[in-house]
Amino acid sequence: MPHGQLVSEPLLPGESLSSVQAQARRPILRAKSGPALSRESIHTVERDGISYLVSENYSYKSEAYYAILMQETQGLRVEPGTKAILDAFVVPICLERARMDGIPVADYSISQSCIPAPAVIYGLNYFACTSHFEVLGQDDSARELVRHVTNNGKYPFCSQCLDAGARIERAVSIFGNVSCTDPAFAEMAAGVWESFRIPLVEIVCIRGPGGFKLSSICPVRYSRLTPGEKELLSLYLSGQVFL
């Protein structure tokens, strides 16, 4: 099981209890070396007869998804699998799969109307992406947020209760390694990697009185990686770090 890389990346301000687009506040920086991480580029790392496909967008019906699907259809060994991708990016399924693999996960419920606040909520519909979640506060905006996420009650959503003092934290996982020094995140990233085998994802967690729990995992754009993350990814892509 991989261990966390000790590259310092402090938490960004304003991440807790506010409406956030998960990737929105990372600086855009370049890697020092390695393959070009251009927009929508897809990279492959070969290890022990398995192709690990690296992409900033693994979503359903994306170029990366179909590249993986074609390899699966031919009986080739490829990671991540299309099923893992589907599981990963639909929050309740992600949490259930992770829970079954021994990862601590946030308690969740599926609803179509108002829920107790504060809570973090994810849309469950064709256009929802886990990288965009909302934090429901105890104020007048709650009803409007639910209306927004459910498209006026048309679609259900997944909610996770936020206990007093709980905060949302995020980290990018690169082949199961995170660039922050937090051992809880390092352990979480390793567990998520073992379960889903997705080389590049952002892990969203809730840290609170009940512990450190997985909230969701979501895709991450190359342009949002920090220099340390880009360097780490480049090392994997160029074969200088082994899985």
Partner: protein, 290 residues
């Protein structure tokens, strides 16, 4: 006595026929000595309490039906449609790739990536498939995002529109017919057959013509009147997808029958099973008694 969960989405309940079909399913389970209850999206946590789950809502890996199916699978509960079937059948690229790999006859088919589609490639598609060409957005249902194009320029226009929803689209040889066979397959066995009579104004089983929705006619056909080659092809197509319930659409082209698509969650509310009164019994038996 076992408990059948029937997963429904209120968005699915748009017609009396659909509601009647759901009630017929529930009544059949009860006549067979089982309990039956409807499960709505907000009741997903009840899924581990049932002994079998029958999903009767529009399936897609990106909607709540896939969550329900996956939850049932996590709990080891028999489910129709199972997650694999939803994944394959909801995506025409996946479905055709599976059929091609299994050697099931389909019209000549190409997958086109947004990265490779140029005017030159569009011309090549016509050279390979002839004219007209059918363009499909992979996750379309009820032929909503299926269009017939006559030249490379139109192909480019339609494909670029569909690329907003998918990085790949399907281009397929056009097979003309006045009706499609629909062969129902359950656990790899023939279940029912009917004809979908295509409206004269269109080439699809459902279309919007001058602002009005036109639907196909449905004609349930007894097994003795279905060509054996059609039944055989339908069963092989179903088997190539998985072990669930499928509605296989087949056209009889000049080169013989070919599969147009395999649907999970096939419609049973339009009279498809009129000549096959045992269909719901077979489904309930499969979920609860095997």
């Amino acid at each position: 006595m076992s408990r059948l969960g029937i997963f429904v989405d209120r968005k699915t309940l748009s017609s009396t026929e659909q509601l009647n079909a759901l009630i017929r399913c529930r009544d059949t389970a009860e006549e067979m000595g089982h309990g039956a209850e409807f499960i709505f999206p907000v009741d997903i946590r009840k899924i581990p309490q049932v002994d079998g789950l029958f999903i009767r809502a529009r399936t897609d890996p990106m909607n709540i039906t896939y969550v329900a199916s996956r939850m049932a699978a996590f709990s080891g509960i028999p489910v129709i449609d199972d997650p694999d079937s939803i994944q394959v059948c909801s995506d025409k690229v996946h479905m055709y790739a599976r059929l091609m790999h299994a050697g099931v006859g389909i019209p000549r088919t190409l997958f086109i990536s947004h990265r490779e589609l140029t005017p030159g490639r569009a011309r090549e598609v016509f050279e390979e498939l002839g004219s007209p060409v059918i363009i499909k957005e992979p996750s379309t249902s009820f032929s909503l995002r299926v269009e017939k194009v006559e030249d490379p320029v139109a192909l480019l226009q339609v494909a670029r529109r569909y690329f907003k929803l998918s990085d790949w689209v399907v281009a397929q040889e056009y097979v003309e017919s006045t009706y499609d066979w629909r062969v129902g397959v359950l656990r790899g066995r023939f279940l029912y057959a009917c004809k979908y009579i295509i409206p004269s104004q269109t080439f699809k089983i459902q279309d919007s013509v001058n602002g009005h929705i036109v639907y196909c006619g449905v004609e349930s056909v007894p097994p003795a009147m279905v060509p054996p080659a059609v039944i055989d092809l339908g069963v092989r197509a179903g088997q190539s997808i998985g072990n669930g319930l499928y509605g296989v659409d087949i056209k009889e082209g000049p080169a013989g029958p070919c599969v147009i698509e395999v649907n999970d969650n096939p419609s049973l509310e339009g009279g498809e099973d009129t000549a096959y009164p045992h269909v719901y019994r077979d489904i309930v038996h499969t979920l609860l008694e095997t």
